[in-house]
Structures are given as C-alpha cells and as structure tokens.
Symmetry: C4
Subunit: 315 residues, 4 copies
C-alpha cells in the first residue's frame, strides 16, 4: 500500500471529523518503521531506476519522411538533403551515442526498426555486442493501428525476425510507431513471446496487465524526456533539454525515497546522436550519477523485475 493510499484512509476519518491539519508533510507523516520497509521499492535494492531508449530507425524511413526541412516537396521528387539528415543517424548518431554510453557505463534499450537493421546490419550487431538491448519497433515506419490482425502480426514478426537474424538476440520488448498500437497489438505481442511493451504514459513505474489471460509488463515510455518531441516537436534547444530532464530527475529522486519510481529518457539516432545532444546527455549522466542508489537498466531487466515482483501494481 503506497503512502498516499494510506493517507486516504487516514485522511478520510480526519477529514470527516474536520481535523485535517493545515500542513501535512507526506514524507514526515510516515513513521520510522514504515520508512525502513519502504526504503527500496525495487526488488534488487535500487532506489531509482533510469531507463534510456536509443531508437534505431534511420535508413528504414520512407522517401521524403518528415525532417527539419520544409514539408513542401513537389510531387515526384526526392528530398535529397532530407535523406542525408537521416543518414546522419547511422553514420554519426548511433556511433557517438554508443561511445558515450560506454564512457558512463550505461546500458540502454534500442528499439530497432527491421528495415533499418537490414540496411545497417553491422551497426545493429555492434549495439548488441556492446551490451545494449535490441527491442522491436516494427518492420518499417508504417502506421500500425489500422492494420488487420493478420497483417499486423506479420509486420511485428518480420521486424523481430530481422533483429534476431542480424544481432543473434530475440527481442522481448515492443514499441509501436509513434506509440500508436491498435486493439490487437498486445495480444499479438503476447502470442509472439514478447514480455513487455512501452506504449503507455500513465505511470512513473512499471505495472502488470493481463493479456490473453497471462501477465504482460508495461514499462512506461516518456514524451517529457523525449528528444523527438522536445527537440523536433517543441523546438527546445539542447540546454532546455538538460534543464527539463534534470528537473524531472530531481523530483523522481525525492519520491524514490519512499516509492518505486522509474525515469525514462528517449533518444533517436538522428536527433539524440548530434554533438549538442550527446553533450546534453553527458551533463545529465554526470549529474545523475552523483546521486546514490540510481541504477540504469535496460527495459527487459525492468520488465523481468516487475513481473517477478508480487508487489507490482496490477491493472
């Protein structure tokens, strides 16, 4: 029972009696014994778990895919410089991020588009060889929620097979294009042997749902700490990214003293892999690693911990 839920019960009585005290410090209100019991909400003793995504998509995009260039190409022509913006993702972006993860000793989850993996197999393989998780992200950039059951199952399977063939590991986690899963997606994932998906923003910790009458983990994703939304969507500068993600960490770190908390950060090859964004992540990692009890984990590790933990939230 979380301290907030405990408060509701207690507060109900006080509130009905008109006795709600004017100042209640949520952290002070728990007695010492509870504090100790709640010291770590993670089975492995971690205080706060941070999970980084490194989406591998470039090379698999359709012609004239959306980029920072004006979206006004005349029909029948290819946006040649736009294509080089995507090339940057595998030529500079992923390699630079890989070096940076090593520098900080961090393992990440790479959701890989199948066609991108086939286009740059050596790089996909290197990601896995350097200790990161290869998770699935569809065969290409198609809209997934409009597919029929059969079509979608093939689409997911093809992408996962490409990853397994190239990297030697079978993906167990999934991320739909723009997070937009359809009504059949989770069933299909369960059938194909996946153990978790990330297309959910509802909580700051993993939770368990029932899919096909069996446990399935949800490892929440983020838009708030997501380079594609912040840098390309909201036009943040790299320093704004640092400020905002640091504030997110500060609050979650405080909360993690008494509650199971997970923080997500998301980066894409051609965006998070620029020098300015890798500098941003270096600043953030330096800052975060100064705090005790923070564990960087791949999402497959988080999903497995959540599935094994009887105290996980179940919906």
């Amino acid at each position: 029972m979380s301290s907030r839920r405990g408060f509701i019960k207690q507060g109900s009585i006080l509130g009905l009696a008109g006795l709600v005290p004017p100042v209640v410090n949520a952290f002070a209100s728990t007695n010492k014994k509870d504090m100790q019991q709640e010291k770590s909400k993670w089975a492995d003793g971690s205080r706060l778990v941070v999970s980084i995504s490194m989406q591998f998509e470039a090379g698999g995009q359709p012609d004239n895919a959306e980029s920072p260039f004006p979206q006004n190409m005349q029909p029948g022509y290819i946006d040649l410089p736009g294509a080089t913006w995507f090339e940057y993702g595998y030529k500079e972006g992923i390699p630079r991020m890989l070096d940076n993860w090593d520098k900080f000793g961090v393992k990440v989850t790479s959701h890989m588009v199948g066609s991108a993996v086939l286009k740059n197999p050596a790089l996909a393989k290197e990601i896995v060889q350097r200790g990161h998780e290869a998770a699935a992200h569809g065969m290409n950039w198609s809209t997934q929620y409009t597919m029929s059951y059969a079509e979608e199952k093939q689409f997911i399977k093809e992408g996962a097979d490409a990853i397994e063939k190239i990297t030697g590991t079978k993906p167990v986690g999934y991320n739909a294009n723009w997070l937009r899963r359809g009504v059949n997606t989770l069933k299909i994932l369960q059938e194909l042997g996946f153990i978790y998906h990330i297309d959910d923003l509802s909580r700051d910790e993993p939770f368990i749902i029932q899919v096909n009458n069996a446990d399935f983990a949800v490892v929440p994703y983020t838009l708030r700490n997501n380079d594609i939304l912040l840098i390309e969507g909201k036009n943040f500068s790299a320093d704004q990214f640092v400020h905002q993600v640091k504030m997110e960490f500060d609050q979650l770190y405080v909360e993690s003293a008494t509650k199971r908390r997970q923080m997500s950060i998301s980066l894409h090859d051609r965006i998070g892999g620029t020098p300015q964004m890798v500098k941003a992540m270096s600043e953030l990692l330096t800052y975060i690693q100064q705090h005790k009890g923070v564990a960087f984990k791949r999402k497959d590790e988080i999903a497995r911990m959540a599935l094994a933990d009887k105290t996980s939230i179940r919906e």
Copy 2:
C-alpha cells in the same frame, strides 16, 4: 482611490502647467501617511494573495482529445497512447501535486469536471479531505458558449451535483471550458448559488460585478502562469515556467506594497502533475514563501473577502 488615480488628478494640473517633473517615482511620490493607510489592501492584512488552481479534468475527456501526440488519427480509431497521457493525470499527477501542497502547507482550488469526478470519486474526495476547494468546471468538456439557456443550466448543475454528491461540498466557484462562457452563464451561476467565476483576465485583483441585480465576484484567472498555455501551447520547458512565474511574482510583490494584488497560477492534472512541473512548483513555492506577507488562498476565500470588502472595485 488608488495611487495611480490620485496621480492622474495631480498630474493633470502639473501637466497642463507644463510642470511634469522628468522623474517621478510612483512609490516615492506617496506621502508617509498614505503609505501606512495603503500598507495592506486585503481585509485580513495579507500583503499579496496567491491563488493556485489544480484543474481535475482527466478521465472526463472525450475520445481522441487533444494531446501531445500528432492530431492525425484516422477516423474510426481510438488514440490508445493518447488516452494513457490523460490517465497519468489521476494516476500520478493529482496525487503528486497533493503531496506537494501538503509539503508547502498550501491550499488550492480544484475546478473539477463532473464526469472526471464520477470516474475517480476517491481522488475527488481526497482532494477535499486534504483541505482544498472543490469548484465546478462543467459536466464534461463540451463547448459551453453555444448552448441554449436551459441546456447550459442543466450542464452546469449536473457537474456541480456530481461534485457535491462525491465530495460532500457544494461548489461556489465556476470555470467554463477554455474560459469560454456564453451570454447566459453568469445569470445561471447566480441562480444556482455560485458566488464567483474565474473566466476573466482583465485585472490582477478580484472585483465585483452585478448579475441579476446582485453582487457576484470575479476572481481573475491567468494565461501567463498557466501550464496548459505555457507548457502545451507555447512549448515552454519547465525551467522557463519557473523563470516566468518568478518574474510575475517579483513585480506583483513590489506593487502589493501599495495596492491590492492577486497572483494566479494554474495547473492541470496531466501537465502540472509531472515530476518536472512539481519540481518547478517546489522551486516557486520555496521562493515565494521567503517573502513576508504572502498568503496562499483558495478562490472561495478570495471571493468572500472581495464581496465583504466595501473598497473592492465594482464594475
């Protein structure tokens, strides 16, 4: 008479005589006796009143309501990840903000959408039990200004009844969807026993208007310190929110030395309730509470003070 109005009268004479001095310090120009009389413009001795809104809307939104996701869903499909963005509001957002208000000893006004209250009754009840004001915000997210008189009256009453049924308190304040009241709204509110509304941006202090030949309070709202406008509309980062609201406070605090001033800050469950925004509010509250004479008040308290105060501006 405000010091500015006093100045106009004085200035007119000087101005016509060509005697306007080159530098006039508005604060220096009032003599000591006036300063003392004007020391506090609030009946209860507060120097500056700060009012925080915590809108409770998530869960009551229509399918595919606007979210940070691209607004390009194909017809006939539900935006599943978009829905989880709203779920965050009641699963993480409101609970986190409630803990934070307690930490700082602050009571806020929660404008509650009726259908959101019915969806999450325990949370609505908890808000009230922890000392915050339950104010009305319509039965759902419908556009209100196009409704007929009868339709609108039912819409407002239904929402207020839901709040009363669940929380045990009858709301006395109102906020229309996107502030967009219609020509009948105020009459209906007066008929239904409301004492104030907030859908007005014209002043930095409450004022009294005549509705159905009786006093009705206007407790001004804000767009300048409003998370939905700044974070989702203007794409501010959380640190920009801090900087801007701090600057707003600094100026109003100076003015409050000689004039009745109110500052509004507005937060929504799924936006103001994120870790980064609660961190932002923690920084702001820490800063504001270092200043003498600042009182955090619920809007019902402000409305009652304004209605009781003969010196309130009347329009």
Copy 3:
C-alpha cells in the same frame, strides 16, 4: 563617411595587392583623430539613443481579435474571455508601464489607435500628461495597404484628430497596422503634417527620405525587441525577452562608440504591461542605465534631431 566605408576604400587597394592582413580590428584600425571626431554621432552628444514604444491599441480591437485563446470561435458568437484579455491592456497594462517609466525617468512614444483613445480618453490624456509622446496608429485596426488614397487619408486623419482632441497634442509620427503601409501612405502623412514614420526595419539609425519633394524622417522600428512578435509570435518567456534585448543592447553600445546607433524596444498594452514583462523591462532598464552616454528619447525627438542633422543618411 562611416568607418566601414572608409575601410572599403582602403581595403580595395590592399586587397588587390594581396595584402589584406589576417586580423583587422575595426575599432583599432581607426586613428585617434578619427575616433575623436566620431566619438558621438548624435548632435546632442548622446552616445546611444534608445527609443521605447508603448502601443495603445486595446479597446479599439474588433470583436474576436486574435488573442492567446484558440482561434476557433464558432460563427455568430463573441469570445468573451478574449475580450477581457484586451481589457487588461488599459485596466492594468498601460497604468503599470506608466509607473515603471516614471520609476526609471524614461519618456516613451505611444502609438495610439484612434478608437482606443476614444474608448479610454482619461488614460490617453494621462500618457501625455506624464510626458510621453502621443503618435498616431490609424483610426482602428483595419488593414491599411488595401485602402484607396482618399479612404486612407481619412483613416489616418480621423485617428490623428481623435488623439489631438483628447490629449491636446497633434501627433507627428505614424505607425501603420502591422507596419503595413501602402504605396500612398507616406505622401498622405507628409500632406497631413507628419514628420516621421516607423514602418521600416532596414537600419539601426534614423534616416531621411524624400516624400513629395521634401524631407521626411524614418525612425526605424523593431521586430527583434518587440513584445508582440517575441512573446505572442515566437512564444518567448519573459526571461528570454530580457536575454535577447540585453544582447542587442550590448552590441549596439559597442558600435555606438564610433557610429550613430539607435535601439528600439516595442511594447503593447496587453502584452508588455503584464507584471512579468514590466519586471523584464525593469531588469533591462536597470542594466542599460548602468552604461554611460545612453539617452532614452521619444521618437519625435529622434526625428527632429535626424532632420536637423546634415550628416544623416539620405536615401
């Protein structure tokens, strides 16, 4: 002859001879005698002239004029909260700015829309009585560049007459709606006795043009230091406004050591008059006033200096 033009002549010879030195400091390259001659480019000895605009438009806007609210009103309805956003301009914005100008001893130019003046005559009068310039800004918010000669002449005259009737001063400066003058505007202004207009962004100093075979001053305006463009158009936070305008000042202050330079800042009643923006201007004015030789001037003063100065740029 400006030092840059001097450089061109000198550089041509060196350049053709292949002798362009690798580092040329523009400020070091002028000999001492030139430096002294060029020390002040302003006739009155000022080093840098800063001109602030305080546009007085609110109250004169058409129904449902563009505001921070979503521009999606259904036809046949009035945007009631949108109207209160504009009311803020005369109820809080202009009064607050007036107090601030006095606090810093600064006189500004107020381009006034005729209908706004008629709506709030006491405030228009107060602006003038407190020492500021009343300049013209059309009779209302109509698009001016599509008007016929006769129509436009009446439109400009009506607005100017309203200002003269209410404030007792005849405006000599003009600003078209969104700066968008038409092909006849300048001729009409010259005919009506105006001496300058501001609808030009081409230079950082005033200059003289020929209109109807007579001198007419152009006192350049700004988009870079303009609240409507930065705060409402570009979604800057108030602190960004401070940073950017400070950087503008820093560079112009350096240049003003050897060249005639003018800096413009533009504020609108309902935008520049908010607490956060008045705080922003307080920070800027405090910073600027720490620099020697900076003169704050009304645009009519600048126009008259430029017209009287034989060394003014003439186009």
Copy 4:
C-alpha cells in the same frame, strides 16, 4: 581506421564470447601509440576545424518573400515593411558581420545569390577583399530540384558568372536553395569546375564522392547551428543560439582529440547580422578561441585539404 571501427572488430570477438566488459571508455581503450598517431586527423595539424557560412541573399529575394511578418498579404500588393527586413541584410547585417570577423581574425565562406551580388556589387567585392570566400548559391531564389538539366546548368552558371564578374574570383563551392539539389546538380557542378558542395548533413567531417568518375568534395552543412532554422524556424532567442552552439562545440572538441572533426555554423545576412546575433557570435568566438588547436577555415580550404588527403572517407 577509426577507433570505433577498431572497437567493432575487437568487440565482435569479445561479444560473441560474452565478454563485453560492463564499462568501456572509448578514449581510454586506445593504447598510447594509437593515440599519438591519431592526435590530429587534419593534414595541417589542426585539431578541430570550424567553418562559418555567411549567406549573401538579401536583395535577390522575390517580392513578398517569407519574412517574420504574417504571411497573409492580399494578392496584388507588395509587403513594403517585409522588403525593409531584407534590406537590413545588406545595409547593416553583412557590414556588421564583416567587422566582427575582422575583430576575431576569422575568414568565412559567403554563398552568394547572383542577383543579390548584382544588386549590391560593392558589398560583394568588399567581402572578397576582406579575405572571405565567395561561393555560389544560384542566380536567384528559385527552386532548383525541379529544373531540367539545361535550365539548371544555366541557372548555376549565371550565378557563378555574376560572382566572378563582380568579385574577380571564380567560385568553387556550391549551395542550392534550401540545400535542395536535384539529381543532375552534382554532375553540372563538376562540369562547371566546382570542387565541392555543402548540401549534405550526413557527417561531421568532409568526405569524397565520385561525380562523373572524378573526386568531388562534400563539406557538410548544418541545420543545428543555422540561424535561419534556429532563429526564424524554431524561434530560438539569441542566447539559446549561444547555448546550443557552445554545446555542439564542446562535444566536437572532445571527439577531435582522436578523430577528424569539422564544425559548421551558418548565418544569413538579415538574421545573423542583427546586433543580438553578432553579440551571440562574439560570445561563441571568444569561447571557441580559448581552446587550443581550433582552426577557422573557409570551405574551399577544407575541400582542398579533404581532396588531397588519402585518408578521407570515400563513399
């Protein structure tokens, strides 16, 4: 062989053996001898090469070209204030930047639109006389990728001829309008004697491609450090530009210890030439010049170094 490629080979073996160490510092993993060999990747001993573009386009734009003004001109009218925004580029912008480059001893590449050169020949000439590179940028602002081979060849040649006629130098570098070259562009450039183009974002260093069976250099351009994208497209404030470009430099400077790295910064007459942006560049140049081994180079110098260097990446 770059250290990353070296790592792949080594990592493959370790990875397959399940021996990937948990923390690998990319910089620590190279042995001392390699470090010395790789100390400088640039033939001339530079550690990091920074290349600045100063696009000269204003004066050559079509009527009603896109500007910060609302893009809502009624048909048949000229946007007069919009035109003055462009005039600023040659009246204030380029002259101010030229003085600033001299102050810091920096030579830049100016991609010049042919019609802009013909409009302001003295300024184009001055740019070259002060030591900067005149590169080509088409005859006017036309969309280039839709032209036929013959049409495009004439378009490029005309622009280059204008530059040569006015400045006395034949351009060897090319930049297409909005970087959008067509399928024939590179062939035409090779035929006309150009040695490099910049319309590619795929790498942080120059590389060599084969065009018409001969070497042709690609000197990558930037959107990340580009005033038109950041200031006008993303609505950055000038201080955000400083922060972001500084972060870009920091990361590239670190990488340049072991790898050939080039940093690009791009400025346009009417945007990068404002006081606030020249102040921004002054701050950046001051910061960058405090670092050892950084060389500012014109793009023709970079292209020639890359073409002469056998170790250049060849695609």
